[in-house]
């Protein structure tokens, strides 16, 4: 199964095995990872699973839907060009090794 790596704001990293049929947010919360809040449970409403995607990976993700794009304006930490919501990133085998950086805060 594909594994992904979250890098916390303090530089520590966590490698997370995914089920092959879940979003980066679901994988993170299933492992009890700090730094991903996901208050709305993955319904693209709350913008509390904000992540920054490493440049090398950004173009390999599926394109953003309009609602995700709009929600990113409401993130607690600064929105950057590589900002995404982890609940909208389905982890396929092609994303094995994906690196996601966590912002300092989600609310």
């Amino acid at each position: 199964m594909p594994a992904i790596t979250f890098i916390h704001a303090d530089g520590k990293s966590d490698r997370v095995e995914t089920s092959g049929d879940e979003s980066a947010m679901q994988a993170a919360t299933r492992h009890g990872l700090d730094g991903i809040l996901a208050e709305c449970g993955g319904n693209a409403m709350c913008a509390t699973c904000h992540v920054y995607i490493d440049a090398a990976w950004l173009a390999r993700l599926s394109a953003m839907a309009d609602d995700e794009y709009a929600l990113l304006d409401g993130t607690a930490a600064e929105r950057l060009p590589n900002s995404r919501l982890a609940c909208q990133i389905m982890i396929t085998p092609a994303l094995d090794g994906l690196v996601l950086r966590l912002p300092e805060r989600q609310v």
Partner: protein
């Protein structure tokens, strides 16, 4: 063909009334009975299917094509009965119609908008706590859980100051009306005329102050997102579901923190827990207890076959305490990762105002925990009975300032 929920389909029949006063007084033993009887049950009293386990409640919420909302999210089937009021364009709608109206309210109540109102909501919470500290002894429902949202939400919406006393009674009618034709529902609707008249009037564009949520909804008409006849009905959704729900959410949080002093102390020790303390109260008490869906086709759910046109009652509160999903489900724990609870629903109809609720809850609990050392319950809490909402009518408390 077999009768709905007959022995052939293996669905257990239960003789419980989840809209009965005795049930409301203590729903937990019945919730357990419903969960343990099977993944899908049949309630003979109202001829509906029921789901009370987390997995099935979540599955029903997330399959809106099969379990639709346009035939009403209460017991009444809009295909067979005339709704008591014009149906909601968002709550009682299915895609694609729902997608368009939902996008409008999502935009009006977005995380970006919450950033803009945050300071105002937080300042009002501080003011409310100032007033409560003066009093020491008060009713945590009327003077806190109601007074706080009433001090901000109608203004945020842009409502006129006259007539606001209709807001909570109107919401109470709306949530009672989702229930069966019992006394609560009959009485609520019988008394609803003046409240409905008030609400219909306030939803009009000229009655909503510029810059408020209501005016923002009407501005979407100019963008071509909705029509001028749709806008007032979408404002109505905020009047129906935006106030009483947060009253019960904040009331639930204060009731939890007053009952579990060790949790109160944990919150005081780390104010960043305020948001999760509120969220956990929504899981633990589930201010919105139930909603219905109607099947659009025959469907198999966890081994049970449900025919077309059947009402399915989702016990959100029971799902939020399902031991299959939650560790120590009956404990209120401010540090719990409660993400995934269905207190705000799930899927396309998940509470569109959830960010408003969380913001109100967070800033109020932060203000309380910063200033107050102890909350003691000093009298018997009284319950307020409603077919859908769970909350208190009064909660006498005495506080000790920090």
């Amino acid at each position: 063909m077999s009768a709905p929920g007959s022995a052939v389909s293996g669905v257990p029949h239960l003789d419980v009334d989840p809209f009965d006063m005795n049930f409301f007084a203590d729903p937990y033993p019945t919730h357990e009975l419903l969960r343990e009887a099977g993944p899908v049950v049949y309630l003979d009293k109202w001829n509906v299917y029921g789901v009370a386990r987390y997995a099935e409640v979540h599955a029903v919420l997330n399959d809106p094509a099969t379990f639709c909302s346009s035939r009403g999210v209460g017991l009444s089937d809009f295909k067979k009965e005339t709704p008591w009021r014009p149906p909601s364009l968002i709550l009682e709608a299915d895609p694609p119609a729902h997608t368009r109206t939902r996008a409008v309210l999502s935009k009006v109540l977005s995380p970006t908008v919450m950033k803009q109102v945050r300071d105002r909501f937080a300042a009002a919470a501080e003011e409310r706590v100032d007033a409560l500290i003066e009093r020491r002894s008060f009713d945590a429902i009327a003077d806190l859980a109601e007074a706080y949202p009433l001090s901000i939400f109608p203004d945020a919406l842009g409502l006129k100051s006259e007539g606001r006393e209709h807001l909570i009674p109107y919401a109470s009618v709306v949530f009672n009306a989702f229930g069966p034709p019992n006394e609560l529902r009959r009485e609520a609707i019988a008394r609803s005329t003046p409240h409905q008249a008030y609400v219909a009037e306030q939803c009009q564009r000229e009655n909503l102050a510029p810059g408020g949520f209501g005016a923002c909804i009407h501005a979407q008409v100019d963008e071509g997102a909705i029509t001028a006849t749709e806008a007032p009905l979408l404002v109505r959704s905020l009047l129906s579901a935006g106030l009483d729900t947060t009253v019960n959410g904040i009331g639930a949080a204060v009731y939890c923190l007053a009952r579990f002093p060790e949790q109160w102390q944990r919150l005081r020790g780390d104010l960043t827990l305020a948001r999760s303390a509120f969220e956990e109260a929504v899981r633990f008490e589930s201010p919105v207890q139930t909603f219905f869906r109607t099947t659009t086709r025959e469907v198999e759910l966890s081994g049970a076959t449900i025919g077309e046109g059947e009402k399915v009652l989702m016990f959100l509160a029971a799902a939020n305490r399902d031991p299959r999903r939650w560790d120590k489900p009956d404990s209120y724990d401010v540090t719990r990762r409660s993400s995934g609870h269905v207190g705000f629903g799930s899927g396309i109809h998940m509470c569109v105002g959830q960010l408003v609720a969380r913001l109100e809850g967070e800033v109020m609990l932060t203000a309380l925990a910063r200033r107050i050392a102890k909350i003691e319950i000093t009298g018997e809490p009284k319950r307020r009975f409603n077919n859908t909402l769970r909350g208190l009518d009064s909660l006498p408390v005495t506080i000790t300032p920090a």
